[in-house]
């Protein structure tokens, strides 16, 4: 053992002996900003170009200064830290831009009329999305009614009953279903109902079926995870009391997992409520209110936003304003659903489950 001490690595210690002072990175950042602003004054360019310039200058400055003072290893380390932070800020850029534009431009038509009127007999200004909002609620509700029982029972099968080849096949196919592109789900619903009702079929229930195809695997995955978290001791205790398996699942396992399953289902709804492509194919669009999902085209909020944007009417600005407001309402719905999901998991989670 004593021979090891003779070959002590010396370089890291030497390099670390002269670390940069705390204030140096801040000073470099200020310097980079100044350089970028000067360049902007000379060359012009938008705020994002300036920020990019500042980021590049900062990375280069950091590397040069740190290398001169601390050596190349620390210089690389500092450069990577800067690059990683910049990557994160870069990801926030589209998010803030998107939320900002949707909020500001969507506010123009975010009024009572938007929720009270339909697009019936409206070409230019005015009108609303009442028919589309009701259609979205109906179709998503129907999709939930289809996919939650199937998804939940499949999860119960996989966790409590499934073994052997069938269970493996189902697990695999649920994975496959997760990856189905939404437009293919729409084509499937169309192909299915075209066989039943003839070509060119468009109706709300078809949209619900397409959404259910997209939603079921999400429900299965979420419920499966939650059921697996239920401690085996609870099942054992129930069996020891002579309770049959199905009552154990209904009265012991499901109540414990209920909060998690509700959270997963809410997130699944949030995922499909903004789907446009399948509804464009099978539910179509109409400018009037249609309350019957069994017949006739049915408007939904995403498709409404799509058509308001692509066929804005005359004058076009009114249609584009409606598209932004529809986008705003969609984002609000999705955010509320996400919030509800988090609240469910926070307040109804079983005590001591994790």
């Amino acid at each position: 053992m004593s021979t090891l001490t003779t070959e002590r690595p010396t370089t890291p210690v030497q390099q670390a002996s002269r670390p940069l002072a705390r204030w140096v990175p801040v000073a470099l950042l200020v310097a980079a900003l100044v350089v970028a602003l000067l360049l902007r004054a000379v060359l012009g360019g938008g705020p994002i170009a300036t920020a990019t310039m500042a980021a590049v200058v900062y990375v280069v400055l950091t590397y040069v200064v740190s290398r001169a003072r601390e050596g190349s290893r620390r210089a690389v380390d500092r450069t990577v830290t800067a690059a990683v932070t910049i990557a994160f800020l870069l990801a926030l850029l589209p998010l803030t831009s998107l939320l900002w534009t949707v909020t500001t431009r969507g506010a123009a038509r975010f009024d009572v009329d938007f929720f009270a009127l339909t697009m019936r007999n409206i070409v230019g200004e005015g009108g609303g999305a009442r028919h589309a909002i009701i259609g979205t609620l109906q179709i998503t509700g129907l999709a939930t009614l289809i996919s939650v029982p199937i998804g939940l029972l499949t999860a119960i099968y996989l966790v409590e009953y499934g073994r052997g080849r069938l269970a493996r096949a189902v697990t695999f196919l649920v994975d496959v279903m997760t990856g189905i592109p939404s437009i293919v789900a729409g084509l499937f619903a169309y192909a299915l109902f075209a066989l039943l009702y003839g070509p060119g079929v468009r109706f709300g229930l078809g949209g619900a079926v397409a959404l259910a195809v997209l939603m079921t695997p999400v429900v299965v995955r979420a419920s499966e995870e939650m059921l697996k978290l239920v401690p085996a001791e609870l099942r054992e205790a129930s069996y020891a009391l002579g309770v049959p398996k199905w009552r154990t699942i209904l009265k012991v396992v499901l109540p414990v997992a209920a909060a998690g399953i509700a959270t997963g289902t809410t997130l699944a709804i949030a995922r499909v409520i903004g789907e446009t492509a399948p509804l464009l194919l099978i539910a179509g669009y109409t400018s009037s209110l249609n309350l019957d999902p069994n017949s006739g085209r049915m408007a939904t909020l995403p498709v409404y936003a799509f058509y308001s944007f692509t066929q804005p009417g005359v004058p076009p600005q009114a249609g584009i304003d409606r598209a932004w407001t529809a986008a705003l309402v969609l984002i609000l719905i999705v955010l509320v659903l996400n919030l509800v999901a988090r609240l469910i998991s926070r307040f109804f989670a079983p005590k001591g489950a994790r």
Binding site: P9, V13, R73, R74, V76, D77, V80, A87, F88, L90, A91, S97, L98, T101, V102, L153, T154, Y157, V159, Y161, G162, R163, L166, A167, R168, A169, V170, L173, V174, D175, V176, G179, I180, P181, I183, V184, L187, F188, A191, L192, P199, G200, V220, Y239, P244, K245, W246, A270, I273, E275, T276, A277, L281, P302, A305, F306, F309, W324, V334, N338
Partner: protein, 327 residues
């Protein structure tokens, strides 16, 4: 296949109490009904997927067997399909090109750089990107991002025009395949950075601490312990993102001004379309054989995404078998 049954791998299965001798008591009946129902649901999933494949095939058969001049474009199905496949792959690959490095950076920032308390919140913020509906991305991309990129495209074609990628002339609307790829990359960032974050966090703490104790800087620690450990996770995350990007419809449709051209010029007026965007654009007004042709392109899309997702899952599964880092 070291774990033959993935669902029971975590804990030993418990047998419920035996109810009486024969299966006649109400409890047994309940058990049979319940297990039948849940097994039936599992089988239903099988049936639905089989039905998806079957109906898609049966609806696309007329397109595959039709005479060449009857298919849209009049040159046969494969000629119609080719440019679309090209455009789909091009847009998705562009999206990956931006999203892979960015998602690794984001994931590293959240898992190893950000203060612990901040990291959770930042994770939620990135997940928020996933919650935004694609039609909103589409409108934003077409009205905000595309006009914003026009000067950049003009600059690219002026200064880098000798590259075929930026040959120009630059699009005056900015609604090019490159813009579509950028929007797609924003859309697949959340799933990719979520997966990367998970695998980065799974790196054994002892490896990291050992490397730091040997005098490694933080980057050297990441390069020598975290990244090698996470490599397969990064690959499969990228492939799942690729699957998403291939199937994305409305955002591409709204952002891209497609002409069906086959070109590698990323910033020009003429852009290839993608399979899903083409279906969504043509389907509402299509009738007769055109519908079958569109369904057939959808079937091809299904096959491509299936292959990509399958490969991604296989990589993940092998990783789980290999180092026991399941989950």
């Amino acid at each position: 296949m070291s774990t033959p049954n993935p669902t029971s791998g975590l804990r030993p299965r418990i047998t419920p109490p035996v109810q009486g001798r024969r299966g006649s008591s109400p409890a047994r009946l309940g058990d049979r009904v319940f297990s039948g129902l849940s097994t039936g649901s599992g089988v239903l999933i099988l049936v639905v997927l089989a039905a998806v494949a079957l109906f898609l095939v049966s609806e696309s058969l007329p397109a595959l067997t039709a005479a060449r001049e009857d298919v849209i474009g009049g040159e046969g199905f494969l000629r119609y399909l080719g440019p679309l496949v090209f455009g789909t792959l091009l847009a998705a690959v562009l999206a990956l090109l931006f999203a892979v490095p960015l998602s690794i950076g984001i994931a590293l920032f959240i898992s190893h750089y950000a203060p612990r308390r901040l990291a959770r919140t930042l994770g939620y913020v990135v997940d928020l990107l996933a919650a935004i509906p694609s039609v909103v991305y589409g409108i934003w991309g077409a009205l905000v991002l595309a006009p914003y990129l026009v000067p950049t495209y003009r600059w690219l074609s002026d200064n880098l025009g000798f590259l075929p990628l930026f040959a120009g002339p630059a699009s005056s609307t900015g609604r090019t395949i490159l813009t579509a790829g950028l929007v797609l990359s924003v859309m697949i960032l959340p799933i990719m950075s979520a997966i990367n974050r998970e695998v980065f966090l799974q790196t054994p703490k002892l490896h990291e601490e050992a490397s730091l104790a040997l005098g490694a800087t933080r980057w050297e620690m990441i390069r020598m312990t975290v990244l090698p450990y996470a490599r397969s996770g990064i690959v499969s995350g990228a492939m799942l993102g690729l699957g998403r990007a291939l199937g994305e419809t409305i955002a591409v449709l709204l952002v891209l001004s497609a002409s069906g051209a086959v070109t590698v010029n990323l910033i020009g007026q003429a852009n290839p379309s993608t399979i899903p965007a083409n279906i969504a654009a043509q389907f509402p007004e299509a009738s007769g054989l055109d519908v079958n042709v569109l369904v057939a392109t959808g079937l091809v899309l299904f096959a491509i995404t299936f292959a990509v997702n399958f490969a991604a899952r296989a990589v993940l599964a092998r990783r789980a078998d290999f180092d026991g880092a399941a989950g």
